[in-house]
Symmetry: C2
Subunit: 645 residues, 2 copies
C-alpha cells in the first residue's frame, strides 16, 4: 500500500447522503447492467459499441475486423474499473463472474509478447507504435492498468493485473530498453503507471511515466512529424487542424504555465505531473502544477466545473473565454479536473483544491448522467436552446437531451467509475492523519496501521448549515483528524462534544488532535444560504449576469418551470432568493429556489428589428440544481441569468 497521503480504501466507506447514495447505488444497480448490454451491442436502437466483440475477434474466438472507435477497448476497462469500486463497496456482486470472464477474454486477446490492443492487433498488426498521435495504444494501456489496479484492490484477483503488468513491461522494453522515440498522443498511461508503481513497487513504471512526461514537448516535435508521415491515413478528420497545442506538445510539460489544447488530455497529464512531483519531490514540477491549476480554475473554468471552451478539437481557448451555449465542457474533462484536484490536495495538503473538486462533482459530473443512469451528456453547456442545436451546424456537438450512447463513448464509463469511487474523494489518510475532504454524509471504518475506529458524517449543510461528525476510536492513538471547512459555509464554528473549539482553519482544514479511545462528536455549523454569484467582468459571456449557487450546487432555469426563451428573463441582484420544495421524482431532495424576476419584451411586435419599446413584466422564477437539469420535459436551460440595474 502506498505511502504518504492517499485516498482511503473504498471497502471501508459507505455513502449515506441521499443525493450521492442515489447515484452511487445507480452505478451498481442500473448503470453497470445497462452499460454491459451496450458494450455487448444488445440495446436496441442504441449505436453499436463493438467493444466486447472486438476482444472476441482479437482473442481468435470470432472472425472479423475491429469496429467502432479505435480506443473503444477503454470502455471495457473503465466498466471493469467502475465495477471494481462497486465490488470493493460490497455491491454488484452478480457482475464479478461476468467480469472474470471478460478478463479471461482480454487475456486471450493479449499477444504472446504482452501486446494488447484490439484495433491494432486485428486491423493493423504491422503498425504498432507507429501512430501514437491517433492510434491511442498507450491511452488504452493506461485505462487497462487503472482497471487492473482497481480490480486487484477490490477482489484480490490478479489476472487482469498480470495482463496489465505484461503489457506495461512490454511498453517499458519498447520505449526505455529499446529506446523507441515517442510518447502518448493521448495522455493517460502516465498517471496509470504511477498507480501501477504504487501497487507493485516496481520503479520501472514510475520511470516510464517520467520518461513520457520528459520526452513530450522536445524539439523536433515527435507527434507533428508522425502526423506528416500518416497524413494519407487520417483516422480523425478533425486532425486536419491538429497543432502542437492540441496534445500539449508545444513545450516540455514542466515549462507549461497555461492550460492549452484538448482538455481531457491536459487534465490527465496534469494529474500525472502532480503524481510524479509527489513521488519524486520535484519542486519545479510542483510549481508548474500550481501554475496550471491556477490558470485552469481562475481563468478557464466554468462555474459548473466544466472546462474546454471550444467544440472544435475539444480544447481550451484563452483566458476568460467561457461561452455558455457553444462550449464543450466534456464530462471526461471534468472527471480529469477532479483527478487533478485530488492530486494537488495530496501534493500540498491544502483543502482549497477540494473547493473545485466539489464544484465539479456537484455540477458537471452529476449533470453528465440522467437520474436513471442510462442517458449521458458528453458536452455540458450552461445555456441550451434546443431549436438551435441542429445537426451539421456549429452547434451540432451540443445535445439538448442526454443520449443513450455515443460513437465516441468515453464519457459514460468515466462518469460511472468516478461516482463509484466517490468515497475516495471524501476520505484520505496517511500514517497519522485522516482527512475529510468533503462534508458528504457517509461512514468510514478507520483501519490504518495505527488507528482503528469509525467516522460518521451527517451533513445537513443546505438544510440548516450543520454537519455532525462522530468519531469513535477503539484504542488510544495519536492522530490528526483534518476536516475541510468548505468556503461556502459562512461564519463556521466547530464544537467538540458541545464545547466550542477555537480551532484555526489551516489550509482549509480544521485539525483535531485525537489521542484517547472513545467517541466524540464534532459539530460544524455556520450559514449556507443560496446566493448570487458573478463572474469576473472579463468573462464577456457573463457580463451583467448572475448565477445562483447554493452551497456547492449551481442552479439553473429550465423551460419546464419558466416557459420558453429563458434569455429574456432578468433578475435583480437584490432579489430575495426563497427556498422551495424539491422537484418530485428527482433524487436527493435538493430544494428549488424561487425569486421574483422579469420577462423582457423588446416591443417590436412580430418584426425582426424595430424601434425599441422595452417593457418588463413580473415573473416568478424557479431554479433547480444544474446537477439535475434535463430530467423532465426537454427544453431550454440557462445558468447565467441577465440582471436589471
Amino acid at each position: 500500500m502506498r505511502n504518504g497521503i492517499h485516498p482511503s480504501a473504498l471497502q471501508n466507506i459507505r455513502i449515506t447522503d441521499p443525493l450521492f447514495k442515489h447515484y452511487v447505488s445507480l452505478v451498481a444497480d442500473q448503470i453497470l447492467p445497462y452499460q454491459w448490454m451496450v458494450l455487448n451491442d444488445q440495446v436496441p436502437d442504441v449505436i453499436a459499441s463493438h467493444c466486447v466483440e472486438n476482444f472476441r475477434v482479437a482473442a481468435g474466438k470470432k472472425n472479423g475486423k475491429h469496429q467502432g472507435a479505435v480506443f473503444c477497448d477503454t470502455d471495457a476497462y473503465k466498466w471493469i474499473e467502475a465495477l471494481a469500486y462497486c465490488l470493493e463497496n460490497g455491491k454488484a456482486k452478480a457482475f464479478e463472474p461476468i467480469a472474470d470472464e471478460l478478463i479471461a477474454l482480454i487475456g486471450q486477446a493479449q499477444q504472446a509478447d504482452g501486446y494488447l490492443n484490439t484495433y491494432f492487433s486485428i486491423n493493423h498488426p504491422d503498425e504498432k507504435w507507429s501512430n501514437l498521435a491517433e492510434g491511442h495504444e498507450l491511452y488504452c494501456a493506461g485505462h487497462l492498468i487503472e482497471a487492473a489496479v482497481a480490480y486487484f484492490q477490490a477482489t484480490g484477483k490478479d489476472q487482469l493485473l498480470q495482463i496489465a503488468i505484461r503489457f506495461a513491461d512490454l511498453i517499458y522494453s519498447v520505449f526505455i530498453v529499446g529506446g523507441r522515440a515517442g510518447y502518448p498522443g493521448h495522455q493517460e498511461i502516465e498517471l496509470a503507471l504511477v498507480k501501477l508503481y504504487r501497487i507493485s513497487g516496481n520503479p520501472n513504471y514510475l520511470a516510464l511515466a517520467k520518461h513520457f512526461l520528459e520526452e513530450r514537448g522536445k524539439k523536433p516535435n515527435y507527434l507533428l512529424k508522425e502526423l506528416e508521415r500518416t497524413a494519407q491515413n487520417r483516422l480523425f478528420p478533425e486532425f486536419a487542424d491538429y497543432d502542437e497545442f492540441y496534445a500539449q506538445t508545444y513545450d516540455e510539460p514542466v515549462r507549461q504555465k497555461t492550460a492549452e489544447g484538448h482538455a481531457v488530455r491536459a487534465m490527465y497529464m496534469f494529474s500525472a505531473m502532480a503524481d510524479v512531483a509527489n513521488e519524486c519531490n520535484d519542486e519545479a514540477l510542483k510549481d508548474t502544477c500550481t501554475s496550471l491549476w491556477q490558470n485552469v480554475t481562475q481563468r478557464r473554468m466554468y462555474i459548473t466545473g466544466g472546462i474546454g471552451s471550444s467544440g472544435h478539437l475539444e480544447r481550451f481557448t484563452t483566458d476568460y473565454d467561457l461561452p455558455n451555449d457553444r462550449t464543450y465542457c466534456e464530462s471526461c474533462a471534468s472527471v480529469g479536473l477532479m483527478m487533478f484536484g485530488q492530486r494537488m490536495a495530496e501534493l500540498t495538503r491544502d483543502a482549497q483544491y477540494y473547493e473545485v473538486v466539489e464544484r465539479v462533482l456537484c455540477n458537471t459530473i452529476l449533470a453528465g448522467i440522467s437520474k436513471d443512469g442510462d442517458r449521458y451528456f458528453y458536452v455540458n453547456p450552461l445555456e441550451v436552446w434546443p431549436a438551435n442545436c441542429l445537426p451539421a451546424t456549429s452547434m451540432s456537438h451540443v445535445k439538448p437531451v442526454r443520449q443513450p450512447w455515443y460513437e465516441v463513448a468515453c464519457c459514460p464509463t468515466n462518469i460511472s467509475r468516478t461516482l463509484a469511487s466517490l468515497g475516495q474523494y471524501i476520505y484520505a489518510e496517511d500514517d497519522n492523519s485522516i482527512y475529510i475532504n468533503m462534508l458528504i454524509s457517509s461512514t468510514f471504518c478507520i483501519k490504518t496501521a495505527e488507528i482503528k475506529g469509525n467516522i460518521e458524517i451527517n451533513a445537513y449543510l443546505l438544510q440548516n448549515g450543520t454537519a455532525t461528525i462522530t468519531v469513535e476510536t477503539f484504542e488510544a492513538s495519536a492522530f490528526n483528524l483534518s476536516i475541510r471547512i468548505p468556503k461556502y459555509l459562512e461564519q463556521p464554528e466547530v464544537t467538540l462534544d458541545g464545547n466550542s473549539l477555537d480551532a484555526e482553519i489551516n489550509n482549509g482544514y480544521v485539525v483535531l488532535n485525537i489521542s484517547e479511545a472513545g467517541k466524540r462528536i464534532i459539530q460544524i455549523s455556520g450559514s449556507v444560504e443560496p446566493v448570487f454569484i458573478a463572474a469576473n467582468e472579463n468573462v464577456r459571456a457573463d457580463v451583467g449576469r448572475l448565477a445562483l449557487q447554493y452551497g456547492p450546487y449551481v442552479y439553473c432555469l429550465e423551460q419546464v418551470d419558466n416557459g420558453e426563451n429563458l434569455a429574456a428573463l432578468f433578475v435583480s441582484a437584490n432579489s430575495e432568493i426563497i427556498k422551495g420544495l424539491p422537484i418530485e421524482n428527482l433524487p436527493g431532495e435538493l430544494p428549488t429556489l424561487h425569486l421574483n424576476g422579469k420577462r423582457f419584451s423588446s416591443g417590436v411586435g412580430s418584426q425582426l428589428y424595430g424601434k425599441p419599446a422595452f417593457s418588463m413584466c413580473d415573473q416568478n422564477l424557479t431554479a433547480v440544481p444544474y446537477a439535475l437539469w434535463g430530467n423532465r420535459t426537454p427544453g431550454e436551460m440557462l445558468v447565467w441569468i441577465k440582471t436589471t440595474f
Copy 2:
C-alpha cells in the same frame, strides 16, 4: 435588350456620393490591379491563387496539374465581370487588353466540344459531370456566363460570350438532349442562364435554368446518391456532414418555404427562382419566392444584412438564431441577398425589397472590404474579441482583421463586381418608367426608346434629411418616375419645383408622371436621425441589447475608441445620441455617434467567480459605421450594446 423592368445600363450612370464613389473608384483603381496580381500569384506573402496558371495549363501553354480550389476559375470570371462594369463606366481602360488576352487564354482552355473547366480538364478529364456535388463545374459555368454577358454589354466584344454560349450549348446537350441526370451542387448557373437567355433570346437557356430548378429536390436525391458513390474521394472534408438541406435538395424549390442550408447556394437559387417566376409568369414560384424572402429577412437576417448563422457548413440554422460572435455571414451570401432583393423588386415592383438591399449594401458589403481595397472579410461577425478568434478552435473561421486573400477566395471578387455594378441597384427602367431605388447621389443619362434626358440625385439624407432630384427631359414623352422613399426617412415630404406634392407612396415609391420636355426639381425631405434599434426578443443573442442605426447605416463600437471589453459597456434606451465629426482618413465623411454609457464592473476583483458587487462608471461611447470598422488599430468590435433598465 431585355423587356420588362430591368437595371439601367451602367454606362449611363455615374456615382457621385462621396462614400460610394470612393469604393466604386477603388474597384477600378486599386482592386482590379491588386486582384489581378493575386490571380497571377504575384503578391508576396499572399496565398497562391493558381487561378490564371490553371488556365495556362488547361490551354496547353504550360505543363502541370490544377492547383488551388476546384472552383477557382470563377475568380477570373468574377474579375472580368467587375472589370466589365468598370469599362462600361468608362474606367479601368488599361485592363481591357489584359482581359482580352485572358479571354483568349480561356478560349484556348476550352475543349473542342465546348467544355471549359480547368480542374476537370487538367486533373480529371474522365470525371466530367460525375461529381456535381463537390466539383462545381456548373457553378463555374454560371460565373463564366455572367462575366461573358457583362463583358459583351460593356465592350461589344463577343469572344467570351461565344465561349460561354458554346459551353452553355454543351450543357444543354448533355442535360436536356442527352438526358443526363443531375443538377448543380452549387447553384449559380440558373440565374446566369436567365441572363444569357435575355441577351441571346435563345429559349434553350431559360429552359435549362428551369430544368435545373425542377430536377432539384426530386426523390431519390441525386446529390446524396452521387456523394455515396464518391465517398472515398471527398474534396471537402466538411462534406462528411453533408445533408439534403445543405444544397437545398430537401424538397423541390417551388415547395421550399424557409431558407435552409448553405446561404450562398440558397441566395443564388432564390435569385434564379425569382428570375424564372418573372420570365414565366409563374405565380406559384413567385409565392414561394415571397415566402422565402420573408423567412430570410424577418427571421434569419442580421441587422447588418448578414445571413448564415452557422460557421460549420456556412449555413442557415433556425428562426431567430443570430449569434453575433460565432456567426458566418459570408460576404458572398450578402451579395446573393442583394441579388435576390433586386429580383424580387423587379418581380413585384415593390420598393420594400430595396429596404433590405440598401441595408446589405451599406453594412455587410462595405464592411467586407478595407478602405484601401486590398483586404477582405469572408466572415462578417457583429461582435469580435480578437483574443478568442483562435486557429483550430470553434472560432477559427472568424478573422478579427481583413485578410489579403483566402484559400477559398469567392468573396473578394464578388464584392468588387457588386460595387462596380452599384449603379444597377440604383436605377431601373422599363418601357415607360424609370425607377430610383436608392437615394444615392449619382447622375443618370436616360436613353430608353421613349425617353431621353438626365437625372441627377444629390442626397444629403444624413446631413439634413433631404435629397434633390433634378430631372431633365429633352422632348415630350409620357413616363413615370418612381422614387423609393426609404423607410428610415421619417415624415417624408415631396415637392416638385417648390410646390408641395401630395403624392401617395405606393409600394414604397412616390410616382411622378412626367410628360413635358424640360427640367424639374424634385425635393424629398424628412427627418433622419440616429436611432436605437431593438431585435425581436426571440433573438436570444440580442435580448436587452440595442443597436445604433443612422439611416441605412448600422453603427458599432470599436476598441480603438472605447477601450477593451466592449461586452462590459451599457447604454440606456433613453440616451441622447449625438452626431460627431467623421473619423479622419475614413472614406465618406460619415459622422461618428456619441452617447453616454456605463462601464460595468462585477466587483469580484481578480477572482473568476465571486459575490457580486456590481458597479457602473460613466463612459462616453463613440460609435462608427459598421461599414468602416476594422480600418484602424485592430481590436474588439460590437454592434449590439447591452442596456441598463
